[in-house]
Amino acid sequence: MRYAMAVDTKKCVGCSDCVVACQTENNVPIGYCREWVTEVTDGTYPQLEMEIRSERCNHCENAPCVRCCPTGASHIAEGGIVLVTRNKCIGCGACIASCPYDARYPHPDGYVDKCTFCEHRIKNGQKPACAAVCPTKCIYFGDLDDPNSDVSVVLKKRKVKTLIPEAGTNPQLYFLI
């Protein structure tokens, strides 16, 4: 099993619903977030292009945050989900510094927090909160080992990129372009 997510930049409108749905679903404190939206504009008026991306932890196969964690709190769980065990985390911040995607934040309660692909939901057969709420249905999620999963199907059909591939992390967050 290998969980992955694909975000369709052609449909994402950058509304940030994913951000707030993640916040309420996972009780992320006000003032913090596990997800964010990036908007990139290129060109000169009126020859313009814009890409909008809903971003989060890339759940890397080769995850620097896991390698550098001194306590083993950061680990790779079933399906390749990168997780933090809260009671093992000492809040040293090494993982935050090592993440090329800036996907982690220090929770005010003293541990480091990040996207979990809504592990608690996918266990119950639900989609992650962001994918379930997105009004444009631009977030695809599923198991790459299953050729019929939403994410496998769309990755086969479309042109795809990942972010900062040169970091060698082998990210599992894909962007449809």
Partner: protein, 742 residues
Amino acid sequence: MTNRRDFIRITTLGAGALAIGGGLIGAARVFSKPAQGAALKVDLTRTSTYCEICFWKCAGWVYKNADGTIWKIVGNEEDQHCNGRFCPRGTGGVGMYYDEDRLKTPLIRVKERGQQVFREASWDEAFEYIASRMKTISNRYGPESMALFTHGSGSSYFSSLLKAFGSANSAEPSYAQCRGPRDEAFMWTFGEEVYSPEVTDIRDTKCLVLIGSHIGENMHNGQVQEMSDAIDKGATIITVDPRFSTAASKSKFWLPIKPSTDMALLLAWMHEIVFNENYDKKYVEQYCSGFEQLKAHVREFTPEWAYGITTLAPDMIRKTAKEMADASPAVIVHPGRHVTWYGDDTQRIRAVAILNALLGSWGRRGGFYRPSKKTVPGYPVPEFKPASKTWQDLFPGTYSVASGVVSNVLIDASIPDNKPAYPIKGWIVNGTNLINTIPDQANTLKAIQNLDLMVAIDTMPMEITGWADVILPECTYLERFDILRVSPHRKPALALRAPASDPLYDSKPGYWIARELSKKLGLAAYFPVGNQEDLLDWQLKQFGSSLEEMKRLGVKTYEREADDLYFAPDEMTSFATDSGKIELYSAALEQMGFDPLPKYTPHEEPPEGFYRLIYGRAPMHTFSRTANNPNLTDLMDENSVWINPKVAKAWGLSNDQYIWLQNQDGIVSEFSIKVRITERIRWDSVYMVHGFGHARKQMKRCFGRGVSDTQLITRVMTDPLMGGTGMRGNFVTFLTEKTVAS
């Protein structure tokens, strides 16, 4: 330390990363933090609601934490408005409930208006105060001298109260400050309005034309979803906007039009479609009247003519006209929603309606569908005595096309200098922050200072509440029952709003407020049922449902009575116009002294050193009402002023610099605003999101954050047909220091 508090990162290639947004609020920790894993519990006590954060009214479910506090709100899968997916504002609706700055108790003014000093009062004392002043106004001037300004669910209760009192002067600013011109234009063309949610069949369209309509930034949920479906299906999107909007970035054609010239483009498109014989001939022949007059009218309006006005290349105008015709009838020239721009708005949207008629899209798949709506019986109450005078008697002979009550007329009639036929002396304002809704703030304040009574009913201490004599704290939609949602859609449906929590503080539901006030006014017979809950149960049982069933379902969708979502082939449809046809040429408008066919009128252009002020929506906020919501402030806590790089260079402005804006009338913004230098805006205009620059300290998160566009809209171009307040004729310049006292 990296900045993990940036929720939105905006990058310009080649210019390095630029982060904006990311409001940081110190203390506000609104969630009780459950132990790890607590969120896993399946909550069986979900409560049905429909959202009150905007007018789309999506139905959803409210879930609670183990300790009974509200956890999250998610969409109801059965709901046609949202299809199980709430927008950011609906998802963040929990913040409206948890906002610690909410109004908590009734308040009565202790100093004169303008000095915002209040004392706490009991509900009974507040009602006594209001009732006694209402009676005095009625005795002295007549009951019609009481006016209501309202938005949202409360409209139903407070307008009934006012009607029972003897006044029909209940205005929704959503008419004359927003969608009124659109509704009238379609009414006078097709004999029918476009409703809310709009009957645009976007999911099956082949070509969607957006004129200044920024779907995706305006988060009208179902429409955003259907636009995304249309993108998936390969539909063409044509966006006309001086700004590279989100929708423009998803479009095959973006027409970066010179602001205020849309009418010229519309006429040129009609010219192309008519003279290339690309219109739906059968449809026009069967359903429309006045084609020959229209043809003669648009003869001159070539793409070359329009080029000189709009700055759009003729070739682009031709190509897009062809694209629309090729998609016909599965094409939508979108009527828009907030369309009060330049004062000729009804006529501009008439041009939109006519274009749709030429393309044969009204009543056709992929164009506009026929909505269907469930009728719910009203509880029997005594007959309302018709009001002896209405808003139309205030300034006789004006705005004869208006079918809604024109809010700005009621405001103007509150100022004795304007010599209205009778005076407006008392206001009840519910759920609408008139200070940031109605342009020309000085005029609104002058009106308020001439009132004998001003009551504000709200959940938040909005600016308007500061001017009230009595403030009544309404509980949020998560704490009350409300009327059934019966909005028209593809299928008739009902949605229930039930309380997920008891009202916090001493806040109360609108129904209760109206009913208690009715008792003090001797009008209790008009509110015979003790509470909304029993009223809903009675209503639902009239047609075989029940409150119990609706609590379980949340949404109940019915089948249409007939298979008539679209016109049947060769259907002999009659339209509710004078001629029974779709009126391309409107003899009725002509009779009233207005242009029977839309004409292009040039509008004033910004003077040297000034830029046209364009405003719009952000997907995470609704007008100014969400500005203090902790969850939504987290996503966006201030607006910025978008400035083209060439303009910024000429002024020596840099990104993130705070500046003040001064308009053509010398009005300087009360607060400063962050500069956002971006290629996404034309050099003759600036852009900002509406709803910021709040001036009441009681709203701690949003006080002084950004600039209120409404404050800078002092020149109003009023629509002579229906009284809409055109707000896009204002120009601003930049001040790096606040040199002029405002």
